[in-house]
């Protein structure tokens, strides 16, 4: 179960790499066409272009086929098939290159160095064994061509205009090229696979370390959740015991008793608010899968507006809601979206001075729900802005205005937005106001 994410990651990577190979081959196809065209047209090299173009067309056709195949297979978790496809593609590529070289001068054509590129690609994508096998195939097919041409068993396509003498008949030259070619290919194979093996090992150990960290973080969160829950139970009991006495339900009190019990009640209430926020963010962190259902955003906004309006008017703030008509249903967790919005709005209300304005704007482009909360509040100092979504972080001016605050409101909102695959951002000018906005896909 634990190794599942890593296998998934490796598979995803494999698919991505096969896509990359296909894209790379389109570039190669273009390059081949351009080279044949340029060399035959503008240089004094008389090439037999028809077989060359045939190979290039073949290259393009099978690349198209592979691109289609990979697109069909993608997402169906065909890890082994993907590997096979990569192997087959490189095999065909090597064959094409061998034919291109054969039709354009064989041993006289310096393009045979291009075999190295295929080996580098194989070293990145495939195992060391597979890379060595492909390198051996390349070596064999190239040697067969140049030796057969030297022996006269295979037709040699000359490159008149390049060489005065026929190099392909010179046995010593062919032998020399063969030696350099074979050694270069195997050295390249060895080096590339060494580097890529080392990289793979490092990647694996990083993934392991990451998993370990995530697991430790989860254990820590579970611990925090348990402790906070116990704290809350005790706090609730304290609150429940103080209240009836303070309210005179157990008998009349004098002013001093009422005063002190009032203070005790306020402090316990603040602690409850804090513990609630801590519970909320910890629970969010531990949530792995969300039960998403479609719901009406417009209705939610109306509910939120109704609950916020009295708070705003108590502080003599203008609270305005602008909601565009026809917002589609949102697929998500209603209570969470509500929580995120309330947290952002409560922040705005808290840090906007009397007489100010708070505006909630909601719209949609058909793909995403866009929400914007703008206020004319105290703003966030530029140096605090990058950390404003960090847990427990509070801006300096916010702390100066209100000593108490959890520093969790915006972190909770961010977490919720991210759980819905959305993005959240903040813009602010100190002393002028703040705008917090988020966008989430309608179907998360």
């Amino acid at each position: 179960m634990k190794s599942l994410p890593r296998d998934n990651a490796i598979e995803t990577k494999q698919v991505e790499q096969v896509f990359w190979l296909t894209r790379l081959r389109w570039v190669a196809v273009l390059g081949v066409f351009a080279t044949i065209f340029t060399v035959s047209r503008f240089f004094q090299v008389s090439l037999e272009v028809r077989p060359l173009y045939t190979v290039a067309v073949f290259l393009a056709v099978y690349n198209g086929l592979f691109a289609w195949l990979v697109a069909v297979l993608q997402g169906r978790r065909f890890y082994k098939t993907m590997k096979l496809i990569a192997n087959l593609q490189i095999l065909l590529d090597l064959t094409c290159l061998a034919f291109l070289i054969h039709f354009s001068g064989g041993v006289e054509n310096p393009f045979y160095f291009y075999f190295i590129f295929h080996i580098i690609i194989a070293g990145i994508l495939l195992s060391r064994r597979e890379t060595f096998i492909l390198a051996t195939y390349a070596v064999l097919i190239f040697l067969v061509i140049i030796l057969a041409e030297q022996r006269g068993l295979l037709r040699h396509y000359c490159l008149p205009g390049v060489f005065k003498v026929s190099l392909h008949e010179n046995f010593i030259y062919v032998l020399g090229v063969s030696f350099v070619f074979v050694s270069t290919m195997y050295i390249a194979t060895y080096l590339t696979t060494s580097i890529s093996n080392r990289l793979r090992e490092r990647e694996r150990s990083l993934t392991d370390a990451n998993e370990l960290l995530a697991e430790k973080d989860r254990i820590k969160s579970e611990y925090v959740l348990r402790v906070t829950h116990d704290l809350k139970e005790d706090l609730a009991a304290i609150h429940t015991c103080i209240e009836p006495v303070r309210k005179g339900l157990t008998g009349p009190l004098n002013d001093e008793q009422t005063n002190l019990l009032g203070r005790a009640k306020e402090r316990s209430k603040q602690l409850i608010v804090y513990v609630d926020a801590l519970l909320e963010i910890t629970r969010l962190k531990l949530t792995e899968k969300l039960e998403m259902v479609e719901f009406s955003v417009a209705e939610l906004i109306r509910e939120i507006a109704d609950s916020i309006a009295p708070v705003a008017s108590q502080k003599s703030l203008t609270f305005e809601v602008r909601i565009s008509p026809g917002i589609p249903l949102l697929k998500g967790v209603r209570v969470y979206v509500q929580e995120a919005l309330l947290n952002i709005l409560k922040n705005s209300l808290k840090y906007t001075l009397e007489g100010g304005q708070v505006t909630l704007q909601v719209q949609s482009d058909g793909q995403r729900l866009q929400v914007k909360v703008t206020d004319t509040g105290i703003g966030v100092p530029p140096e605090d802005l990058p950390k404003i979504f960090t847990e427990f972080y509070r801006a300096r001016n916010a702390k100066a205005l209100y000593k108490k605050g959890t520093g969790l409101g915006l972190s909770i909102a961010k977490k919720i937005v991210e759980m819905h695959r959305g993005e959240i951002g903040i813009e602010s000018r100190l002393g002028k106001g703040t705008c917090v906005s988020f966008a989430i896909p309608l179907i998360s």
Partner: protein, 130 residues
């Protein structure tokens, strides 16, 4: 004297509620877990029940369903105490409107607001179902 049954495992909260309800002129019966609550509800036939959700063993939901399914006790109004958002994250207000889902007559959020608690209990007792 109308009788109220409190089913809650937190002794301190029970004690605070007992004091307040007795001052208001109610007789209070106490049960510290779900099973004891069911027994006392059947034996004592209280006028209303205050029921906590989170309890070890039989929880508040199970107790409520049991009571509402029993012809002897189904007429007794139940006020449920919830701090449920801590654990499940659902919106209590919405869910209580579905009687199949949660068969209680009303609910109160924790930490308790005693004015609301007393108002709801008074209302239950005044409009006691026969």
């Amino acid at each position: 004297m109308p009788r109220i049954l409190i089913i809650d495992d937190d002794a301190d909260i029970v004690e605070a509620m007992r004091v307040v309800l007795e001052k208001r002129g109610y007789q209070v019966i106490i049960a510290v877990d779900g099973n004891e609550g069911l027994d006392k509800a059947r034996a004592e036939k209280p006028d209303a029940i205050i029921l906590d959700v989170m309890m070890p063993g039989l929880d508040g939901f199970e107790v409520a369903r049991e009571l509402k399914g029993d012809p002897q006790t189904k007429h007794i109004s139940i006020l449920m105490l919830t701090a449920i958002k801590d654990k499940t994250g659902f919106d209590f207000q919405k869910e209580t409107s579905d009687p199949d889902w949660l068969p209680v007559d009303d609910y109160c959020n924790k930490p308790l607001d005693y004015e609301i608690l007393l108002e709801k209990i008074d209302h239950f007792v005044r409009n006691k179902k026969r």
